[in-house]
Each structure stands twice: as C-alpha cells, then as structure tokens.
C-alpha cells in the first residue's frame, strides 16, 4: 500500500498534490511539501543506505540539515552528489539513490545558472523560528532595514514541527507583516553558511531546486547572498544529539525531535511502536505527538532517577538507560540496562541539545561549555551580534520569543532605531522544565557504540586514539575522522568531546571542541562561482580596433586582460609563414600595428619632471618640450620593473608610456610615491590608456604613407627628427604623431582619440595600399625588436635582471644623486662579473630554432646531473631579415664571451650556438631615419 505510514490528516503537506519519485530503483509517491526523507518514511523506507566503512545498514536519523546518515545521490533531473534526504524537497521526477560512499559528478556540463546578490541592512536575522521571527518583527517595526534568512521553505523554524497552532498562527502573521514591509527582505530556502569579519554573512538561496525539471531555465538555480549587516541576530536553533550505546546506529534509532517533526509537519509516522530514551524533557513532547498520531509508545526510558514513573498511561523507567538496540537491519527491540526488553521498531533518542553555534564560532565568537546545559554555548564575540533562543541554549518557546524580542530590540537600538509596536506574542502552555542529566557513553560493547554515524566512528575507535597518546580533541578527530564527514559533526561534535573527556577523565569544558569553519552546510562550487565564468571570469579588454582585427582574420594573444592581435594569417599560412611575411613587409615596405594597449599615463604638475627623475633610471628633466626619451624604471631592489617612452608635452606635463601588462602597476607605483613619500611634489597622474588609440606605422615607406595622410605635416627627417612628436591632423583627425621605433625602421606612432581609432586605422590602411601596407601583430613586433636586441620586460627579464644586465648602462644616469633602485646597484651581488647578461645567440647550423626556455651549457657532452647551467633562451625566432633563426639569452658573463661557443641541450642532442651581440640587424642604425 502506498504511503502506509502517512497519517490520515494534518501536517503541512499538500495531500491534493501527489508527487512521483524514484529512489533506489523503486517508484514511490509522496506529497508536495514532503522532503525526500519524509516521503520515504511515509512509504515505510527508513534504511537509505549502508555505512561507509563497515557497511552497516543506516537509516533516517534526523529531519534537517544535521542528518548524518541519509545521504543520497540525485541522478535526475541532473546528477548532484551527496545531499541529505532530509533537505531535498520532493518534486515530480526526482530520481535518487542512497549513497554509501562517494557521490557522482555529472559528465555533461551543468546547464543551470547561478548568480550572486549583495544586500546591506541594519539588522540581519538568521533563522525564522520563534526567536528569529520575534527579533525580525521588533527590528522591522522600528523602521530598520531587516534581512531575515531561513533555510526552510516557510518561516516558523522549530514551530513547524509542533502542533502549537497559536504560535504557528503568530508566525504566519509575522511572516506576512515582514513580507509586506518594503524595508524587509525575507529569504526562505536560504542558508546562511559563512560569517566573516565586520558582520559579513554569506548565504545561499536555493531558488529552483525544489521545482525539479520544471525549473524555469532563465532563473538562477542557486544564488549567493553577500550580506553586510550593521547588527546580526543569530537565531539558528539547536541540534538534538544522541549518545553512545550498543547498536545506536540501527535504522529506527531516531532523534526524538526529528520524529516529532515527521509526524507533525509531514504527517508521517516514522514507526509503529516506539521506545523513547531521554535525558531531558524535550522527548516527552515528541512522545505525546507520536502517541496522538497513533504510534504506540512502549515505554519511556528516562535517565533521570526522579522522573515521574507514569506519563499519559505510558510506563516511565526512571533512572534507567538503554543497554542496546537490537535488530537485523532495523530496530526490532530495545534492551534496557536491567535486561528488560521492549519490542519496538523505533527508538527515539534525546541526549540533549547543542546550540547551533557554528556561525558564531566561525567569526571568532567564543563557545563555552555550560555544565547545566550540557553543551557549548555562545560566550562573547567581537562582532555586533546577538544570539537568541535555542542557539543561546534557551529551549522553551516562550523563552525563545522573549530572547528574540530582546535581541531585536537591542539590534534596532544599536543601529539607531527605536522599537515600535509589534504583534502580541502568542501564549504557550509549556510545563516548567526539569533539569536534564548529561550522558555521553553507556556501558556496553564499545565497538558497536557509534559516535559519528557518517564516519563509522565508535567509542572503541576513540579509546584507541586516546590510548595511542592523543590528548586533544583535534587529534582524536584526525585519528578517527570523527566530525570530518558531510555533516561536519553537527550531531557528533559535542558527543565526541564528551566521549573523549569521559575516556580521559577530564572535564568537557577543559577539553573543548573542534573548530567550526565555513560553510555551515555544504554549498555547491557552481553557486560560489556564480556568473564569473567564461568571458566574465576576468574582464576582457579590447581596443577600439578589435572588430576590424576580427574581421580581418587576426588570431589573438591574451596579454594581461587585453586581447592583442597575435598575427594575421592569410589562407594556408601558419604562424611562421604569416610572421615571415609580416616581418618582410615591415622591413621592406610598410606595416601597421595596433599599439593601443600600451599603458599611457598623463603626468602633470610643476614637479612632474622631479618625480620622473626619481623614478626613471635616466634623466627626464633635461628632455625638451617636443622631444621623446626612452626610459627604464627599476624597483628599489634595482631590478628592471618597466620601460617605455616619455614624451614632454610642456614644461609641467609628460605623457609616459608603459608596457601593456604593467600599466596599472606603474600608475600605482607613481601614486604610491607621490602620496606617501613625496607629498610635497605637486604632480597628478592620470591613466589615459583608453583615451588614446595608437597605430604604429612602420617601415621604410612609412614616411610616404604619413605624408599622404598629413599633408600639412613636414615629415622629412630634418623637420621631424627621430624621438620628437608633433600635434597635427592625420586623415583629418586630430592626432599626435611620435617618431619612435621599436623595430629599427623608420616609424611613427599615430595617436588619436579612442573614438577616432577606426577612422584613422582605415585611412592608414587605404593610404598604405599603394605601398602594400601590411597589418602585423605582436609576434612580428617581437621578432623585429629582437633583431635589434630590444628586450621585452617580462620576457627577456624576470625580476632578477638589472639595466646593466641588459647592457643598458647608457640608460642609468651617473649624474643623478639618486633614483629608485640606484642604491641596490652597489650591493655585492650586483658587482659580480658572472651576472647574467642579455646577449644574442646564433645556432651554428644556421637552421635550428632554439625553444624559448632552453638552457645553455658549457660542455659538449652532458655529465650526470646536476649540470651547471649558463643561462637560458628568453626569445627565439626565425628571422626573415637575417635569413636564419636567432635568439636572445641571459648568459652568465655573456658580454665577456662574445664569439664563444656554448651548447643548448635539446632532447638528446646538444646544439652548438655562438654568443653574439644582441643587436643582429642593422647594428649601425642606418635604417631609423628612412
């Protein structure tokens, strides 16, 4: 019979809405509002799986996020590993199975969307049980902006598992009030899982999981909430715990509070005949509700000797405990410490409650063992936070409401609001509490007394650990793996501490507990990644000419966040062929390149020259307006940091260019010094990288192209000499033209407004057509500069290279008393003759292209490792101009070894190469002026 354990009425399920699902290969039916666990119990399925290590049958043990046993793998509608049956809301078409061990990831990509939201509020309340609702209600009434998050589909918290109709009505009204309040955000199905500094709380909202295949594709499946609150109220409730006794892992052993939730909230009887074993009052409420729902209560075993021996006609065995739960794959009988035995298919256990202190602890809140409570409770935290209700160790509903109200008031007042009128609190008839007793482990066979159900950790395992010399609960955890499973010890953590303390004969409070770490409950990778994937993983920066490059077949290279044209292959061309063609075109005719990604910084102010003199290794202040100088910057350690050109626009204004990758770092560098070291300097720096687009026009015919485009600009060498600039009009566009060269050829850099870039580019392309103008990318640029021995910072340098190592003594001022990095040049290490120098390499066979990264050795045959190395190849290319491959390398004492032969081990071979000057093309510099 279907759902034979379902009660005839009641519960918060929708009995008109049947839901079909499949579990472990069998089809079942439940109702909307069920969890997978409640639906399985309704169908008489209590065992969901076997245990990970010992293969023992395991059943549904709890009713919420703390479940240690009922792990499931969802297979359809999309595979999701390791969820707890108690937190999977039932939906049509759900296919799942019990999970004894490892979950399974999907082979196909996850089609779902994930996103994140930021929320800022005065008061964040975590948990919408009685305490949380009361707190939120008060805070909201004060006018504060309130966020209330709760992990269940509807507010109510522990009340949902009761028959307290008055309190439930109150909860529903409060929730309605909150939903109607525009200053309140009520998030259900939302688990606050991380609590970080300065009241930053991270939560995950499960938006469409409960809809199964019917989930609309346009909605994000899960959403991360990043909540910054001025004040936080934690009303996270408490988790009931069990204790160690023989057979305490059998299916049918269930937390008493969980059974109460199943019968009241889901209309499910978790068994037919139950024994209740308790150390405190709370299990009586569970027993009452089960009894009323038709579950037979065989006996109540109350560990407290002074417990009332009769309760609603049920025998109460006061001062007794359980010896063992007996049964094959489900509880069949419960044996007491005096040998008496009760037939039962359900054993409800309550050994007390642990305040859910995880979030509080994550952010640095102290937890203190409260001997009366028999649990760890909050004891002080640096954050602006209140803890209310069961999370604070206050269990009666009336107490939770009062604490919640007070916490809400305090939070409101702390954030500058005055409490307003709230709904009257419900009255609840609770019997006065009688003190609990605290038990951790009972006498018996320690090998069948489980402490951590999910990790199959028994008292015997813990005894082995303490016997091996373990004295710290952290060590016992690691020795036994207790508390490390999916549930992160929600039901087992305090019990583990209790058992360890019991075995070592120390106080639980002195022993302490293991540390809580985020997340409070497992959260999917995809939710955390959110939308920051693919193109949104990191911003893509493109120049104003990107679409043109794409349309003309460019392949792109990632340079930092930029996409730069790498080369423009024509039909049938590979990299080498394309680059050979591009290089030849530039050297023999004219080429053009998009150089817009170069960093550009506008440096202005009366002391601009002073600043630049201090940061560049060479003198900048002597630069004349209208002129350009190449400069190098070092870090204070003397290592090359960046290079580029400096243009003097006016006596108090410079335009500095940087490498593409270092633009932000150089600006940061300047601003740092200006603000913190030399605030007396009157200078302002502004990034103009994306204001100016730059087109490099390069090659012996470049002057003719420019002349055609800028008829009013005198372009001959005398009027427009090397390393000068002119503001003019090019192709009718306002432009700044710089005569600089990174190839050794006659060349110009045409700078225009970013908006005019495409117009300029197309004009240059058209004007160059008669000269066979050729577009080229970064690879050709690299070859051309390497032929001239110009280093690329970051490729030919690696943070251990000085300007002198690069052979650039000429760029290091001898006149300036100081510049950043200068002092480091005087260190012993910088005086060594065997520092690595940038040199050229020519493979002796004139044919071998050395791999970039290859090393050089002195010997003709390799000895056993370690082999002494001379240095490595930093750049290596085929050269169309030289008609052979060549390389740049950093070689020990390289400048003193010109003409020497060294060897590059390539695979099994040793390739002989000769050390040369790094300047291999046009060493006389005759081509620069065209």
């Amino acid at each position: 019979m279907s759902q034979e354990f379902r009660t005839t009425s009641g519960g918060r399920i929708d009995r008109d809405q049947a839901v079909r699902f499949r579990f472990g290969g069998r089809d079942y039916e439940g109702y909307a509002g069920d969890t997978l666990a409640s639906a399985l119990l309704a169908n008489g399925v209590i065992q969901t799986s076997t245990s990970i290590k010992l293969g023992r049958p395991r059943g549904i043990f709890a009713a919420g996020v703390e479940e240690p046993n009922a792990l499931v793998q969802v297979e359809e509608p999309f595979p999701e590993p390791m969820l707890t049956a108690t937190t999977v809301e039932l939906y049509d078409g759900l296919v799942a199975r019990g999970l004894p061990g490892q979950g399974r990831l999907a082979n196909e990509p996850d089609p779902a969307r994930y996103d994140a939201m930021h929320a800022h509020c005065d008061v964040l309340v975590v948990g919408a049980g009685p305490a949380g609702l009361a707190a939120a209600s008060v805070a909201a009434a004060s006018g504060a902006r309130v966020v209330l998050v709760d992990d269940q589909p509807e507010p109510g918290g522990s009340l949902l598992g009761t028959r307290e109709t008055g309190a439930l009505d109150w909860a529903a009204s409060v929730a309605a009030d909150l939903r109607a309040n525009p200053e309140v955000r009520l998030l259900t199905r939302t688990t606050a899982f991380g609590y970080y500094d300065d009241n930053y709380v991270i939560a995950v909202e499960r938006r469409t999981n409960h809809l199964g295949a019917a989930a609309p594709a346009h909605l994000s499946r899960e959403r991360i909430w990043r909540i910054r609150a001025r004040h936080v109220v934690l009303a996270t409730g408490a988790h009931e715990r069990s204790l160690a006794f023989d057979g305490n892992d059998l299916p049918g052993v269930m937390l008493a509070g969980a059974a109460r939730t199943y019968v009241n909230r889901y209309g499910v009887r978790p068994g037919r005949r139950a024994v209740v074993f308790t150390t405190n009052d709370s299990a009586y409420a569970a027993a009452a509700d089960l009894l009323d729902a038709g579950v037979e209560i065989a006996a109540i075993v109350d560990a407290r000797p002074d417990a009332n021996p009769q309760w609603r006609g049920v025998e109460v065995l006061a001062g007794h405990t359980i010896a063992r739960a007996r049964g094959e794959d489900r509880v069949a009988a419960v044996v007491l410490d005096d040998g008496r035995e009760f037939a039962a298919d359900l054993l409800l256990v309550s050994a007390g409650w642990n305040p859910a202190g995880a979030l509080y602890s994550q952010v640095g809140g102290r937890l203190r063992f409260d001997a009366d409570l028999g649990a760890f409770r909050p004891d002080g935290c640096r954050q602006a936070v209140e803890v209310a209700g069961a999370a604070n160790g206050t269990y009666p509903v009336v107490g939770c409401l009062a604490e919640g109200t007070a916490a809400g008031q305090k939070a409101a007042e702390a954030t500058g609001f005055t409490a307003g009128q709230v709904r009257p609190l419900p009255t609840i008839d609770e019997r006065p509490a009688t003190p609990p007793v605290h038990l951790w482990a009972l006498p018996g066979d320690e090998a069948t007394q489980f402490v951590d159900l999910q990790r199959d950790v028994t008292v015997a395992d813990i005894r082995r650990a303490t016997g091996a010399g373990m004295r710290s609960v952290e060590h016992v955890k690691r020795y036994t793996t207790a508390g490390t499973a999916h549930d992160q010890g929600k039901t087992s953590g305090t019990l583990t501490s209790g058992v360890v303390a019991h075995l070592l004969g120390v106080d639980v409070g002195d022993l302490g507990t293991t540390t809580f770490r985020p997340p409070y409950a497992p959260v999917s990778f995809a939710a955390l990644a959110g939308r920051d994937r693919g193109a949104l993983h990191d911003p893509v920066r493109v120049t104003a000419l990107h679409s043109w490059h794409e349309a003309h077949g460019a392949l792109f290279e990632n340079v930092g966040q930029w996409k730069r044209p790498w080369y423009y292959p024509q039909a049938g061309e590979d990299l080498h062929a394309a680059v050979r063609r591009e290089c030849r075109a530039v050297r023999e005719g004219v080429g053009m390149m998009d150089a817009s990604t170069l960093g550009k910084i506008d440096v202005q102010g009366p002391d601009a020259a002073v600043l630049l003199d201090r940061l560049y290794t060479n003198l900048i202040s002597t630069l004349k307006v209208g002129a350009i100088r190449y400069g190098v910057m070092c870090r204070a350690d003397g290592m090359v940091f960046d290079d580029g050109t400096v243009i003097r626009l006016a006596s108090d204004r410079f335009l500095v260019t940087t490498t593409t990758g270092n633009a932000a770092a150089v600006l940061d560098w300047m601003e740092d010094f200006l603000q913190t070291e030399w605030p007396d300097l009157r200078v302002r720096c502004t990034s103009v990288t994306e204001q100016w687009a730059t087109v490099a026009l390069v090659g012996p015919r470049s002057r003719e192209v420019l002349g055609a485009l800028a008829p009013h600009l005198p372009v001959d060498n005398a009027d427009f000499p090397f390393m000068t600039w002119r503001d003019t009009s090019v192709a009718g566009l306002p432009a700044r033209v710089c005569r600089i060269s990174f190839s050794g050829e006659l060349a110009y850099e045409l700078n225009v407004s970013w908006w005019d870039a495409l117009a300029l580019w197309e004009a240059v392309y058209a004007a160059g057509e008669p000269f066979g103008i050729t577009t080229y990318g970064t690879e050709t640029m690299h070859v051309l500069r390497a032929e001239k021995g110009y280093p690329i910072i970051g490729q030919d340098t690696d943070g251990t290279v000085t300007p002198q190592d690069l052979g650039m003594d000429w760029v290091v001022s001898k006149k300036k008393p100081d510049f950043v990095g200068k002092r480091s040049f005087a260190r012993a290490e910088n005086a060594r003759p065997d520092r690595k120098h940038l040199v050229g390499l020519l493979p002796d066979d004139g044919a071998t292209l050395l791999p970039e990264g290859a090393h050089l050795v002195e010997m003709e045959t390799l000895p056993e490792p370690p082999v002494p190395m001379l240095g490595h190849v930093t750049s290596s290319y085929h050269s169309a101009a030289l008609g052979r491959p060549f390389a740049l390398a950093l070689i020990r004492g390289g400048r003193d070894r010109m003409g020497e032969r060294v060897y590059a081990p390539l695979g099994e071979a040793l390739v002989p190469v000769t050390i040369t000057s790094p300047v291999l093309y046009d060493p006389e510099g005759t081509r620069r002026d065209g």
Binding site: I52, K53, Q102, Y200, H486, H537, N558, H872
Partner: protein, 408 residues
C-alpha cells in the same frame, strides 16, 4: 560493502608519550609542526642527538601541517631550490619505510598549467632546468594535459585557455597527519620529548649565546635552540631581538564531499590561482590564493574562495555541482624572494627555519634533514647554505616568484 577509505591503513595503537618537560635539553626545537618534528627525528637518527625537546604551543602538527593541501613536488626553477626540494622528494620516496608509517605517499604526478605565451616560455624554461638538475620534468601540450587529467577543460573557448603544462610524474600527495605523526612517533621512540601546550614566551640569551627558553610551563635550559614556528616565526625571533624578512599571511583551502574518482593527478594553475587534487577517500582538496594582508587569525576573506571557485570551474566544469564541505585557513610566512630562510642567526646556537610560504609541506623531510645537520654541526648543510638570512643584504636572492612563479 567496503566503502571509500576503508582500505586506508589505520593509525598505530601507539604514537607518543606525553612527557613533562625536563629542566634541560641539548636541543630545543620550537614548533611541533612537520618541520620541527622532522628536524627532531633527523637530529636523533642522523646525528645521535636524542636529548631533544620539541615544544608546541598548541597541539602537535596543528598549524600549517594540518591545513595544507599536501602537494609534493620538486620541479622548482632555480638550482638552489631544486636541490633542497629534490633531496626532499628522494626522502619522501623512502619515508614510509624509514618511519614505518603508512604516509600514503602517492606519486600521481603534478601538472602546472600554462595559460599565456609567457607562461609557456617560463614553463619550458623550468622543465629544461629541471632536467639538467636531475629532476623529472616534461612539457605537455594541451592534448597531453588532457591525457594526464581528462577532466581539464583544454578548449580554446575559456577566458584563459590551457596552452599546455609542465608535468612531474614523481610528484604527488601524501596524508599530512600521517606524515606528522610518523615523524612524531619515530622521534618519540628515539627519545625525543614532544611537549604540547607549552608555549615559548621568551628566549634566554647570555653573552650573545642562547641558553634556554621561557615557556608557559617554566624555564627550560638548552644548548641549542632551533626555531621552526612557520607563521609565528617573526613572533618567536622577536624574542631574541631578531627581525626576519617575513610577512605572515592567511592562506585558505577547502575540501569537497567524497566523490567517485575523476581526478587522477594534481593540477595547479598559478595564473588563475587554483590547485586541486582528489584525496585518497575521494574528496577534492583545493587551495586558494593568498590573502593580501598580514594575518594571524587562521581565517581569510570569502571573496578569495569565490574567486577560486570560478577559476576551478573554468578549468574543471565537471565540478559544478560538487559541494564545499569545509574551508579553513593557515598562516604562511612569506619572504621577499619566495624562498625559505634556513640557517644560523646573529645569536650563537640559535637557528632559524622559516619563510617557506606555501611550500613547506613538500620540503618536510628535506628541510628536517638539512636543518638537523645545521644544528648538529653549527653550520649549514650545503643544500640550505644558499638560504641564509644574509642573502637579503648581499642581494643573492633565490627569486622563485621573480622567475616563473609556481610558489605552491
């Protein structure tokens, strides 16, 4: 049915004594992390120095040793680094037998991915240097990366496509607690006193020479004192008036639930800040980038984790619905050149071992070996000689992040 991890060996029934501290020792090691324990073990085993105490302010191996992602490799760029890490790797290869402890050293290989043309150059440079230094290393093209780890997304359609990777087949992972406890048990058996919950509060120095330590459990005299305090090195060294060029930062890591095997090796990507392996029981173990600020709180900021997850899914789309079970933080002590400091100090018979940043675990046996030698002989072992404190004055740095940084 035997579940995952059921085949993992149990810990032994006996690990170590919990002795009261004696009044005096020949050598006191400060810090019972992996390095401190390994040092004590090799002091006893290699040098016959057994009158040794290892003092630990918390619980043994509860700092970075308990918090790292257990990656072991030796494919470092510079000769000095390759020397000491390769020495460590060779020791790892015999450690299980040496310690008679199942440390679960799994030589499943480590892949370091390259995502830019410069990454490729740097990677090839490192591979070639490794080979000449006798360290096993290969360059893999994207297809070969996929053969080694089939779930890596090598498609060109991701933000930073995989352009290849370096591969060290002998690299791998081990179980960190097992390693620490193996050293601890072996050291204890050789007579070393492991003293937990004993915080050093002062260093006694007379005439420029260390004479003992002040602790929360009283003064203990010592002929030699060796610091091995990782993230707390600055705090301890300060007690001797010594400043160290290290900064302590939070470093976070996380673990997923147990999953069926999908990830047979270790994959690291410096460019997008993620490193991941699948541990013996099936959980994914992943490390994040370092938090930027100094911190002793063993906690980092959450946006670092979110960033790491987005990077992880770029490389491993299959991980989408895996779950983060637990995150945590350690305190890494980072030097300006991303290389450690191991050797003498300005105080006689006071020794320093720190600055391992994110690389300490893999070095454990190697540094223990060399540091013990340094302490026993009063001068550095050749393998740690380059990692002296005075290199920061001379400028002879071993710049592992200046060059092709693969710091972890």
């Amino acid at each position: 049915m035997a579940g995952p991890g059921s085949d993992l060996p149990d810990h032994p029934d006996w690990l170590w004594r919990n002795p009261e501290p004696k009044r005096s020792y020949d050598v006191i090691v400060i810090g019972a992390g992996g390095h401190g324990l390994a040092t004590a073990y090799y002091l006893a085993k290699n040098h016959g120095i057994t009158n040794v105490a290892v003092l630990e302010r918390g619980w043994l191996a509860g700092g970075n040793m308990a918090r790292n992602t257990t990656i072991i490799r030796s494919n470092y760029l510079w000769d000095e680094s390759a020397g000491i890490y390769e020495h460590a790797l060779k020791l790892w290869e015999g450690l299980e037998e040496d310690l008679d402890y199942p440390i679960l050293f799994s030589q499943r290989g480590v892949v370091n991915l390259a995502h830019s043309l410069q990454d490729v150059r740097d990677s090839v440079r490192r591979v070639e240097a490794n080979r000449l230094n006798g360290v096993d290393a290969e360059w893999l093209d994207p297809q070969q990366v996929k053969e080694v780890c089939p779930i890596v997304n090598v498609s060109p359609d991701v933000r930073y496509p995989v352009l290849g990777g370096t591969y060290q087949p002998r690299a791998g992972i081990a179980k960190h607690d097992y390693v620490a406890w193996g050293f601890a048990r072996a050291a204890d058996a050789l007579g070393v006193d492991l003293i937990q919950h004993c915080e050093v509060t002062g260093l006694d120095i007379a005439g420029g020479r260390i004479t003992g330590v002040q602790t929360t459990r009283g003064r203990i005299a010592a002929g030699k004192v060796a610091m091995a305090a990782a993230g707390h090195s600055s705090v301890v060294a300060r007690m001797a008036g010594i400043d160290l060029p290290v900064q302590s930062h939070p470093l976070q890591a996380l673990v997923s639930e147990l999953l069926e095997p999908v990830h047979p090796t270790v994959v690291m990507s410096n460019a997008v800040h993620v490193y991941v392996s699948q541990a013996h029981k099936g959980e994914l173990v992943m490390g994040a980038g370092i938090d930027s600020y100094n911190g002793y709180g063993q906690r980092g900021a959450f946006h670092i984790i979110e960033r790491q997850m987005s990077a992880a899914l770029e490389l491993f789309p299959a991980f989408a619905r895996a779950h983060v079970l637990r995150t945590w933080g350690g305190i890494v002590d980072v030097t300006p050149d991303a290389s450690p400091i191991v050797g003498l100090t300005p105080v006689d018979e006071l020794y320093v071992n720190c600055g391992w940043g994110t690389g300490g675990f893999k070095a454990t046996p190697g540094v223990g070996w060399c540091y013990a030698h340094t302490i026993a002989h009063g001068e550095p072992h050749p393998l740690n000689a380059p990692f002296s404190l005075d290199r920061f004055t001379t400028g002879a740095l071993v710049d592992e992040h200046g060059a092709a940084a693969v710091a972890h």
